[in-house]
Assembly symmetry: D2
Amino acid sequence: MTLRVAFLGYRFMGTAHANALARLPMFFPDAPETRRQVLIGRDESALTEAADRLGFAETATGWREVVDEVDVFYDLAPNYLHADPAIAALDADAHVLCEKPLAHTLDDAERMAAAAADSDATAAVAFNYRFLPAVARAKYLVETGELGEIRAFRGRYLQDWLADPTAPWSWRTDADLAGSGALGDLGAHTLDLARYLVGDVARVSGYTRTFVDERPDPEGDGTQPVTVDDAFTAQLAFENGATGTVEASRVAPGRKNDHRIELDGTDGALRWSLERPNELLVRRAGARGFERELVTDPDDPYVDHWWPPGHVLGWEHSVVHENAEFLTAAVAGESHDPDFQAGLAVQRLLDAIQRADANGRWIEC
Amino acid sequence: MTLRVAFLGYRFMGTAHANALARLPMFFPDAPETRRQVLIGRDESALTEAADRLGFAETATGWREVVDEVDVFYDLAPNYLHADPAIAALDADAHVLCEKPLAHTLDDAERMAAAAADSDATAAVAFNYRFLPAVARAKYLVETGELGEIRAFRGRYLQDWLADPTAPWSWRTDADLAGSGALGDLGAHTLDLARYLVGDVARVSGYTRTFVDERPDPEGDGTQPVTVDDAFTAQLAFENGATGTVEASRVAPGRKNDHRIELDGTDGALRWSLERPNELLVRRAGARGFERELVTDPDDPYVDHWWPPGHVLGWEHSVVHENAEFLTAAVAGESHDPDFQAGLAVQRLLDAIQRADANGRWIEC
Amino acid sequence: MTLRVAFLGYRFMGTAHANALARLPMFFPDAPETRRQVLIGRDESALTEAADRLGFAETATGWREVVDEVDVFYDLAPNYLHADPAIAALDADAHVLCEKPLAHTLDDAERMAAAAADSDATAAVAFNYRFLPAVARAKYLVETGELGEIRAFRGRYLQDWLADPTAPWSWRTDADLAGSGALGDLGAHTLDLARYLVGDVARVSGYTRTFVDERPDPEGDGTQPVTVDDAFTAQLAFENGATGTVEASRVAPGRKNDHRIELDGTDGALRWSLERPNELLVRRAGARGFERELVTDPDDPYVDHWWPPGHVLGWEHSVVHENAEFLTAAVAGESHDPDFQAGLAVQRLLDAIQRADANGRWIEC
Amino acid sequence: MTLRVAFLGYRFMGTAHANALARLPMFFPDAPETRRQVLIGRDESALTEAADRLGFAETATGWREVVDEVDVFYDLAPNYLHADPAIAALDADAHVLCEKPLAHTLDDAERMAAAAADSDATAAVAFNYRFLPAVARAKYLVETGELGEIRAFRGRYLQDWLADPTAPWSWRTDADLAGSGALGDLGAHTLDLARYLVGDVARVSGYTRTFVDERPDPEGDGTQPVTVDDAFTAQLAFENGATGTVEASRVAPGRKNDHRIELDGTDGALRWSLERPNELLVRRAGARGFERELVTDPDDPYVDHWWPPGHVLGWEHSVVHENAEFLTAAVAGESHDPDFQAGLAVQRLLDAIQRADANGRWIEC
């Protein structure tokens, strides 16, 4: 059976997921077959061009009529457009992959998680960095006890595309459309990895800052107010006793996509950065320092699908692997990890960090 | 017009080029359209599986009958199978992309270059690293004079897959099939970049070594003799007066695909490694040290076809870009750079290094 | 005039400061002349050996009788022995250099700062990292506006010497003797650099953890309770609006002395680590990435006293520079920066972080 | 007994060795006691200032009258002034430490080695990098077989202080005074480490280049010809079958003191750079990649004399350790490693590289 797929959204992540679907037959021949059936958007001419380029058979300008006609629904729209389409798709028993963060409000995220729980379909939230070989290997090293008990997590995600105060306003800088700024856009990834690699968070402290409070209107002469954070910091207290610090910024000069994760355990430690996604620094028990692993060996996660050792993968491969996992789970009637519950758990942390900031105190999660 | 394409060979580089062709429509929509028509190999069952996976319409067990039926011929076979098929294809006016090194002997390379000169078709040799954004940017910085006059080139290409003496014999360890070992397999890339970035080489000195002189026969119980080098070193004297050192090894523990290039100029300097292919270290005129550029900005070579800044590309993208350039040149009736003359120039250096080693003296090129 | 100097304490920092005094004549000939007059300690035989090795003319087993007899008093004793000796020395008009943190309690620190304010002598707290060339250069770049307005500070100080649960109890793991653990031992340095490079802190949030709650008694068979933190994290809100995160650990496997500082500004950014103390990573306005500066040029701070470019300095040079500055200020009747007020300011942050942790809320500073 | 010491030369290396002698009592209390007795130079006023600063009791403007009056003679003069003073000192039974390279001609080096062989005194050549903890540890790892049999050596030593064509002429750019340029100044260190870590060299190939052939006369308005190399490259064939490449430049922009050494063995590999002298990258048998060791642990060579782990040492400590070893050997009547034979062996390589260049062929050593 070939799965009929619809995408809501066709820009950056639309291309990334279309590319993933296009590559599965050659590199993951055991993954389910898919047909890119319907591409959904509002601007008809852009939509037509995108559908042609991304290999979709049809276009539609509304999502409501589509959810009943496809087997799989990808919600790649701005955050405020996550809940209703995703819930409708799940209600129609379509499998759903939703971009992160799960929603722009905690209420929406809860509604989505409830809909997922009520549906037989598979619901996935797109925390794609879990599917990079080096991150998957980090998880393996934690699970197999190489590091011992985890005592500290450090995560930060730094970009600089908003460092220029003349960078234009977009939905990503608007609270009503995005929910939050660096927090939900970047921090959601980091918080997911914190939960994935360490476990549940008991309490958080937060601080958010908006440095540039208005930006040029992309469709006019004036400016629009920026109503989300440019940067945030947070402390985490994990349930297992580990400490955590998390930080993100879209105004950090010289950082293009610097998502760094560090773990300290009783026996060992790990370090990783998205700017060098194939490298994992591992301090093993009894070793003097960190060993640089190039995670491109045939027995590393996902690597046997690709190239010989040392022929490094790129960012986009995380999305290919994510799609292979999601579609395989969907066809098998299984849940995908991370699912909407995982998305909700991160949303609760996003919300708690904002409340902790607003109240000047730690918030129980 | 859709170009009908045949591949001779379907393993590592077969997959890499099939992937490249499959990705062009989405990411390089202006590149010529292609149809993967015929996959050529000897083992019928493996061939059928590969054709299915790589998206080829047909298979064939001999190349002679295919060259007349396609527009483009990819020679991805072991080195000793480069000359005759490529020449036949060119004689049939098929465009040819041939894997590196151009041939297993200098004689073959000369015949191939002559055939290319006599043909109206486009002949390309697959020095794919030229097409990584960071390497293309290095070329740009040299061409625009950022570094001043080049005084020194350092290149080394280190791998460790033959460090284990029980790694099996293959065509890559046999002089009759491969021509040379680390020299032609890895050094050919480095020597091409030396010529690309610095210019013609006037003289070479060489040294080659075989550390493991027999390896297990993959098809039997015994061993086969290793008749190629495991490692080589060379000095270059460029025509412009620059010094050069080039080195490669397939027995360098801990190096997976460590192809490093350094350039010193009168005003600046460059450093690059294939294990971090998206990074270029640039020492600009007047600066104190090297600046790390993540070559993922929209105006960097090829990058606007892909993702936002910081979303790094992998090894395989070099092959995608190479194919876009080659096919575009082919349809336009233009030559591709690097062409068979460039492949021949490198082959002459490979041959000169071997003769320099054999004779214990510098050889004029 | 030759300054007569007394040291209270003769272990690690005693050796470091004795070395500094011994090196000034050759490398800082303009610095005041000193005589190592009295070495103070309790264990007479160890004291005699140390005085001989460190070049002291005399020994004493109590500090009270010494403070009137010397011109300069170095308090290098455990934290609980900072206040009384330092105050007595200042009251006797001896110049005082006190190791960090200034005291083991905020009360003591306040008494010390008051004594310093009442004394004509120079009082210095030993935040020696300010005097590394790379850190001094970082300060220069901030002051001259190269980075623009500072928006973010990240500091962490990681060591692993207590990762082993059998590492023995010492005064450094006892709250009555040390005041705090990683917080005061390591975090004090980081917080001083935060104030030095960014400015005053308005509010803090804190979290402290003790992972190993008892350790072998070094003088017996049993164990002693650990009453200080093994690790802490904190968020800072600077008065100028910048965000800050600070973290320290003595149980971070693989980190020997990894004190990292990062600054983001509106125009540029900085990165530095104590494990590579001579290197400063600078992202300049308009640049693509970080430039690695080896801060060993003749016009870099302090460097002209030493070696040609590239002949790197070590950790101990920070202490030599600190002593040159302190003694020069003392003889000139000027204050040293950082003085006891700066030490008190850091102590207030240490105290605030502990209270923030205890109360689960941000504390105004 | 206190050894009376004379220095010929008081600039860079004069300061480095005076510093070493001054530090031994505190950090190497078991090393022999020394008195800085006579400082020898030609410019009386500079000499008097230097003697005062460096702690010498007397000065002299000629070396002949001094060699009989001291126990130890340090030849820190320009290369052409190595042979006669060192030989005279050895003939007078004074122990000699001579800066590298041993001489400016092979003849002189041979005379020096003969004099050392005939003398009961200890003769040392100052290849100080052997005495950095990380390099000494590299030697240990080789000796204990951690790397297996060595198959490849890579060394390069890059600086940029002559990249500026207006950098003045000095004895270091004159063949009559220095013998060679980057080759003897920098390459001598690298070649010594090659012999130290791998073993004897059977054959060499060489290439030398002078890019700037005249430089401003520091004492006049005109220029002086540059008669030494700005850069060289060489290939080595070791007697044990290993390959080697060696390269040095004083015109490599952005490199301040970048002396890099790499070793590949059958089982493991090493990497080290002088710009990060405390770090050793080790690829152990069976490991995936290189582990970064911070060579500051108490059981690392020389480290127990200094600071706790992670408190890094600088360049100058190599000279302190070298002096401790040399003086200890001298008093014990033992030879120092490296001795004049080792200096001569390197001089033969320098000479062979020049002849290999001149003759365009490999030279047996």
